[in-house]
Amino acid sequence: MRAPVRMLTHGGSLCWGTATVSERTDYSNSQMRFYEAFELEPALSIDADDLKKRFYERSRQWHPDRFGRASAEEQQKALDMTSALNDAFRILRDPASRGEYFFKESGVELSKQLPSGTLEEFFELNMALEELRAGDESFRPQLIEARDKYSGLLNEMGKQLTVFFELYDKYTPSERKIIIEPIQNLLNTRRYIANFLREVDKQLNVLPN
């Protein structure tokens, strides 16, 4: 079984070298409005409990239900504030979408390419998925096993992402250049696995007649 760390670090091939880091660390000119909605300094790491607490507090203050009998302008403001808050919460609560948002808004372009070897690793499983789709039930056990394995892996990768995010926040701009590649690989691999699992789940839920 392939260890998660190996998947993340066995890279170095040329196709990964597309990330560009801007030297800018001052976010005041950027578009970090999702952080502003929570009065948080832009950072990759976020304390989930604190974020939720802020979300509830601001919802209580700004939800349109609190303005049921207010003027049209106040109601519009409540709607704008709350939709921005909800949009921000949706993006920031999930580490992967937060990471993508953060880099995009800080002017860092991430490559969407998968680490080499990933597609090969999944080649056989994708074939099995196709066979099951076509009705060959003999592939079901293999896919159940894969689902369990990669669900666990996804969790592991989540933890790893948290660690990398913390490091990134602490690092100087030049150090950040080093860690951005593994983060990028982690994000891309996670996205791929999550999509794969969604497809597998969908198919496993279709029971044989």
Partner: protein, 611 residues
């Protein structure tokens, strides 16, 4: 001489309305909690021989005598087009008028109505009932909708409110409303699943309750699955029986079908607490009886109940919780009285569901609580609801590009950049759809938006930012801005189903004006009844000894009160009549107290201690 609680100051209360497939209810928030006003109103509308529209219990009787001019379960048609309802038409006797396409028109007698108009008559009935009971005019309401209702169905419900003369301050999802009523009563913390199986719709919602916040984690359902479907199964059996016993096909005789439908519903309801029940029909001098055992009933309805379990599993998954983490399952809707439903839910959720709340009332009570939140009377509760379906736009090749995913907390928004494909292009058409499938043809078309009057420029140069916003009612709005000029870009919306604003406006005026007039007349009539009562009481009191014990000024004040009330009595200002009633009330205060004291003294004197 009267005592009244002044609740909500000078503003009239906001009512909460459960606009159900089979029955509807109205409730209001009071100091002691939510209260149901008057009684259940069957969601049936009919046009009588005189051409008057009637709604509620009377209309339900008309269903038996004049089924051709009566409609029930209209909620199934809300926000739908004719091509959507072909399946429904096989099972429900809807009389569709000619020329119906994206907007259905129903024929009742010689009149035609859109589904929102039919619903408006039910809402209007509830409005009148609430006004009669509360003695104030009702202009604002919270109306509940199935959580799984799409944009068009929500919009149609809101339109119905407007047509009925009600400003719909909020559409609340039925299971969420139930959770609110439940949370008020039973539990304030934890994870709660609400299984809402009503007359025509099924919803499942999972909520996290924390410190007064009711946060919906996920919702799922089927807007065309309910007790109606169970009725139709029994109906089919009975019709086949009758065909062979009487050698007669009564399925085309709408009066016979309605009688049989009533018989089937009676049997179904009995089967919730008896091991067997009889479908009993007397028609045209003939009798039909058929015993249905609980076992047969369970076998028959198992597929219907199974259809609720898939959405439950998906909902648990989407909520990101395990079955073990769910603390309670709350049952809502009349169909949850069926034992097989309860046991299926118990097996799936691995815990005994809560059935002690009245499943018919809990949604209306929750709607009243939400009305209390909106009016500011309830300060410590807040609902955070989600959109049940993903919102997307059509991209090349008939594919859907999702902008807002299902189960996103609402209000929610998304912005997207659009540009032109051809030099000098002036318009961009955007097709908005709702649903989870990848192809446009498998999703629900909501609307087409035409971005108009784009300044001519080479292809790909235009930068138009479009903002899609789903508000707290789950209803979509769209705004667009030209990024280059910073100007608002005009957006022309063509809803795929339903009524335009102008159409709704045209429907309102008539019924609304009439309602105003009716209301005013009733207010006046009620004020006069009260005036009669106090004038009679004063007249009688003047014979009492206590009257002569009053000072001259006190007697003069009473005389003045009587005369002034008589002067305004025949005018048409009920508020003036009321103010003069109050004035006389005050003037007779001392007299009333003295009479009371005399009466009490008399009573005490006459009391024997050994009684």
């Amino acid at each position: 001489m009267s005592f009244q609680i002044d609740f909500g100051g000078e503003k009239s209360p906001i009512v909460g309305i459960d606009l159900g497939t089979t029955n509807s209810l109205v409730a209001v928030m009071e100091l002691t909690g939510p209260r149901i006003l008057s009684g259940i109103v069957p969601s049936v509308v009919s046009v009588n021989q005189a051409g008057e529209v009637i709604a509620g219990a009377e209309a339900r009787e008309m269903l038996l005598t004049h089924p051709e001019r009566t409609v029930y379960s209209v909620k199934r048609l809300m926000g739908r087009g004719v091509e959507d309802i072909q399946e429904e038409l096989k099972l429900f006797p809807f009389h569709i008028a000619e020329g119906s396409e994206s907007t259905i028109k129903l024929k009742l007698g010689d009149k035609t109505f859109t589904p929102p108009e039919v619903s408006a008559h039910i809402l209007h009935r509830l409005k009148l009932d609430a006004e009669a009971e509360l003695g104030v005019q009702i202009t604002q309401a919270v109306i509940t909708v199935p959580a799984y209702f799409n944009d068009a169905q929500r919009q149609a419900t809101k339109d119905a409110g407007r047509i009925a003369g009600l400003e719909v301050l909020r559409l609340v999802n039925e299971p969420t409303a139930a959770a609110l009523a439940y949370g008020l009563d039973k539990r304030n913390e934890g994870i709660v699943a609400v299984y809402d199986f009503g007359g025509g719709t099924f919803d499942i919602s999972i909520l996290r309750l924390h410190d007064g916040i009711f946060e919906v984690l996920a919702t799922n359902g089927d807007t065309h699955l309910g007790g109606d479907d169970i009725d139709n199964l029994l109906l089919k059996i009975a019709l086949e029986d009758i065909q062979s016993e009487w050698n007669e096909d009564v399925s085309k005789k709408s009066d016979a079908v309605q009688l049989l439908r009533r018989a089937v519903i009676d049997a179904k309801e009995q089967l919730s607490f008896l091991p067997a029940a009889v479908i009993d029909l007397a028609y045209d001098g003939k009798k039909y009886q058929r015993e249905i055992s609980r076992d047969l009933f369970d076998t028959l309805i198992a597929p219907v109940i199974d259809r609720t379990l898939g959405p439950c599993r998906n909902c648990i998954k989407d909520a990101g919780v395990s079955v073990e983490e769910i603390d309670e399952v709350v049952m809502v809707g009349g169909s949850t009285r069926i034992p097989l439903v309860r046991s299926a839910v118990e097996v799936l959720f691995r815990k005994r569901p809560h059935t002690e709340l009245n499943p018919d009332e809990v949604v209306a009570l929750g709607a009243a609580v939400q009305a209390g939140i909106l009016s500011g009377d309830v300060e410590d509760k807040l609902l955070l609801d989600v959109t049940p379906l993903s919102l997307g736009i059509e991209t090349m090749g008939g594919l859907v590009s999702k902008l807002i995913h299902r189960n996103s907390t609402i209000p929610a928004s998304a912005t997207e950049q659009f540009t032109t494909a051809v030099d000098g292009q002036r318009n961009v058409l955007i097709h908005v759809v709702q649903g989870e499938r990848e192809l446009v043809k498998d999703c629900r078309s909501l609307a087409r938006f035409d971005l108009k009057d784009i300044a001519p420029m080479p292809a790909g140069f235009a930068r138009i930012e479009v903002r899609f916003l789903i508000d707290a009612n789950g209803i979509l709005s769209v705004t667009a801005r030209d990024q280059r000029s910073g100007k608002e870009q005009s957006v022309e919306i063509k809803p795929s189903y339903g009524l335009t604003d102008d159409q709704v406006e045209a429907m309102i005026l008539e019924s609304f004006d009439k309602a105003q007039e009716d209301f005013h007349e009733r207010q006046l009539r009620e004020a006069r009844v009260e005036a009669d009562a106090i004038l009679a009481a004063t007249d009688k009191a003047k014979q009492n000894d206590a009257y002569f014990e009053l000072t001259d000024e006190e007697r003069a004040a009473i005389e003045r009160g009587v005369n002034e009330l008589l002067v305004v009595y025949h005018g048409d200002d009920h508020l003036l009549v009321r103010s003069k009633i109050d004035q006389l009330n005050e003037a007779t205060q001392t007299l009333a107290e003295n009479m009371m004291n005399t009466a009490v003294r008399g009573a005490l004197k006459g009391t024997n201690v050994n009684g």
